[in-house]
């Protein structure tokens, strides 16, 4: 009983702060329109960076830019809408799929050379090498498997971390609100 009395005594302090935080997500026309225009461009730029290993691109910055595009969408439209468009199961899938893709590129070398080559020894990808030559094959493997694998993992990891932090804040606000009531 005494504990309940203390909670009632403290109630006016956080209550005044929690009541505006409990309100619904407020839509903003300018932010939503800007995000709608920007998100496809940002995603396209991220894919260009991921594939551009011949220049200054690569998997790590490309994955970061893709994640930034999705995070822009989530911040503009709210976590409820973001969870519909970018389901959390997809993030979990992408996170592990990128790592599997990278390791798969390593295992392809072992499988195609029938155990003669080591793990991640890209020079031994024979069926592809018979078509286009060893060096070119390795270049394609580098650009498309390794970088795409890295980018997918980085993207999934960053989006899921953003979701986790956003949900944590929402949960804390909800708990505060329940305590007040």
């Amino acid at each position: 009983m005494s504990h309940g009395k203390e909670a009632e005594m403290e109630a006016p302090g956080p209550g005044s702060r929690a009541s505006p935080a409990k309100k619904e997500y407020r839509r903003d026309v300018i932010i939503e329109t800007t995000a709608k225009a920007m998100v496809p461009l940002v995603l396209l730029f991220g894919m260009y960076i991921i594939v551009g290993t011949e220049g200054t691109g690569g998997g790590f910055p490309g994955g970061c830019i893709l994640a930034a595009g999705f995070i822009l969408y989530i911040t503009a439209f709210g976590t409820e809408m973001g969870r519909v468009r970018i389901p959390e199961s997809w993030n979990t899938f992408f996170k592990s799929f990128g790592l599997y893709l990278y390791c798969g590129a390593g295992f392809l070398a072992i499988i195609f050379s029938l155990g003669a080559a080591q793990f991640l020894n890209y020079s031994a990808v024979w069926p592809l090498a018979n078509l286009v030559g060893v060096a070119v094959t390795r270049g394609y493997l580098l650009a498309f498997m390794v970088s795409v694998g890295i980018g997918t993992t980085v993207m999934g990891a960053f989006i899921s971390q953003f979701f986790d932090l956003a949900w944590k804040d929402e949960d804390e606000e909800q708990e505060q609100g329940e305590k007040v009531e």
Partner: protein, 185 residues
């Protein structure tokens, strides 16, 4: 207090002088094809009979024994100058001889440049071919990418990149385990 600050001022001036001297003393990197930028000198020998031997395509025994004594041997996983395992080519551009060695790789059977021999001032100097230069020259042929950094990231240091990715993955998994409530997947 005053002596301390004076000592500090003197130290700073001394260090600045050293820096200026070092910057002035660094050789210019103007000519990328000079031997100093492509090869590293390791030792010199007397040229008696060695020049004819090199022209005939045989490495003198002294070069073989001395390189192996320096640590470029089987124990340290370096290819040695065995009979029939190397090729000697006259390098007209640098006015010396290149020693190419078959490394014994399964998928790259071509010999690779390892040593460079040059005759100067009546002595033969043995150079070791610079590893970064080798990477820069051979990247396009070996890795199929125009960008040497990409080849280094994903090809020569593939394991490093794979475990960097694993670090990011495990970081995300740890955040999920720490912050997420049950049933939020």
């Amino acid at each position: 207090m005053k002596t301390l600050s004076l000592a500090g001022l003197l130290l700073v001036l001394f260090l600045a002088g050293i820096f200026v001297y070092v910057v002035e003393d660094v050789p210019a990197f103007g000519n990328a094809k000079s031997p100093a930028n492509r090869y590293i000198a390791i030792f010199t020998i007397e040229p008696e009979g060695a020049v004819e031997s090199l022209d005939a395509g045989v490495v003198p025994l002294e070069i073989k024994t001395r390189t192996e004594a320096m640590g470029f041997n089987r124990e340290n996983n370096f290819p040695t100058l065995e009979e029939g395992n190397y090729v000697i080519e006259r390098n007209e551009e640098d006015e010396g001889w290149d020693i190419l060695i078959h490394e014994g790789e399964i998928f790259f059977t071509e010999p690779l440049k390892y040593y460079h021999v040059k005759e100067a001032e009546g002595k033969l100097t043995i150079y070791r071919y610079n590893w970064p230069v080798r990477v820069l020259e051979k990247t396009e042929e070996e890795a199929g990418t125009l960008n040497a950094v990409t080849a280094g990231l994903a090809d020569y240091r593939g394991y490093d990149t794979m475990f960097e990715e694993t670090v990011i993955f495990s970081g995300a998994v740890c955040v999920v385990l720490l912050l997420r409530k049950r049933g939020r997947l």
